[in-house]
């Protein structure tokens, strides 16, 4: 399977990783911004964009990742349900059913 195909099939996990990475970067950028100034009025925008925004992105990423796990389990139940369906019996011509 090519990486492009994998990314297409695992779009939810890919999006989750992207969001988690973006959230981590936002937190780091926020920390750098806050630590670069001593004025509270200049720190607060970094707290909102970097801190709160980063937490928001991490939350959405984690949700997408857990959603992907739930979808995997749902597909597994699909396969189990399919296996539980009765097998179709095709009668053989000229052979009577002795059961």
């Amino acid at each position: 399977m090519t990486p492009a195909k994998w990314l297409q099939l695992q779009w939810d996990r890919t999006a989750a990783w992207v969001l988690v990475a973006a959230g981590a970067i936002a937190l780091i950028v926020g920390w750098v911004g806050v630590s670069s100034t001593a004025y509270s009025a200049e720190q607060l925008p970094y707290i909102i964009s970097g801190g709160i925004g980063g937490i928001f992105l991490l939350g959405v990423g984690a949700t997408l990742w857990l959603s992907a796990d739930l979808r995997d389990e749902w597909r597994k139940l699909d396969r189990i349900e399919e296996a539980l369906q009765p097998r179709e019996v095709t009668p053989i011509p000229g052979k009577a059913d002795t059961r």
């Binding site: 925008p45 949700t63 739930l70 539980l84």
Partner: protein, 172 residues
């Protein structure tokens, strides 16, 4: 815990379309609710950041910070509701579809295994299969779908005359 047999699945589907055969894990309504929650939370954070960064007075920045915290909490609630909805749908479907492993453990404990072994060594095959009124399948007594059920035991002929088909799992 009860198991869902093939004949019970349509009833499950009717009672909860999103979780039975052919259903979906999350409905479109769930998705819209989640998207609105997360989207609204994100917009609130962006607007709060915009207002906060446009004001150099610390006292007037506290309000936008509080609003941003509210936005992230709102989005978090949307995420939690989305996941809980999915877990609930999954659990309902799993309970409806899969056997209760505790009940199977009791039914296939050491004594039950000894009985089966004795019958097998004696070359005895049971001629009775389990089925009930209104069912469309009949099962072997040791079928996982029959564990914990109080279905009547009858011969194959009786079941077939009642219009029942062999179970797809135990293949009686």
């Amino acid at each position: 815990m009860a198991l869902a047999t093939a004949e019970e699945k349509p009833a499950l589907a009717a009672s909860r379309p999103g979780t039975a055969s052919g259903g979906v894990l999350w409905s479109a309504e769930d998705f819209i609710r989640w998207a609105l929650g997360v989207g609204a939370g994100g917009i609130v954070i962006v607007v709060a950041w915009y207002v906060c960064s446009g004001d150099a007075t610390f006292g007037r920045q506290i309000g936008p910070v509080d609003v941003a915290v509210g936005g992230v909490v709102f989005a978090g609630l949307g995420n939690v509701m989305w996941l809980l909805r999915g877990r609930r749908a999954l659990g309902e479907r799993r309970r409806a579809l899969l056997p209760d492993m505790a009940a199977i453990g009791e039914a296939t404990g050491p004594s039950a295994e000894a009985d089966v072994g004795a019958a097998g060594s004696a070359g005895v095959e049971t001629d009775l299969f389990l089925g009930g009124e209104g069912m469309v399948r009949f099962h072997r007594p040791d079928c996982t779908l029959a564990v914990g059920r109080s279905w009547a035991a009858s011969t194959r002929q009786v079941h077939e005359e009642a219009g029942r088909l062999p179970c797809g799992v135990c293949d009686p």
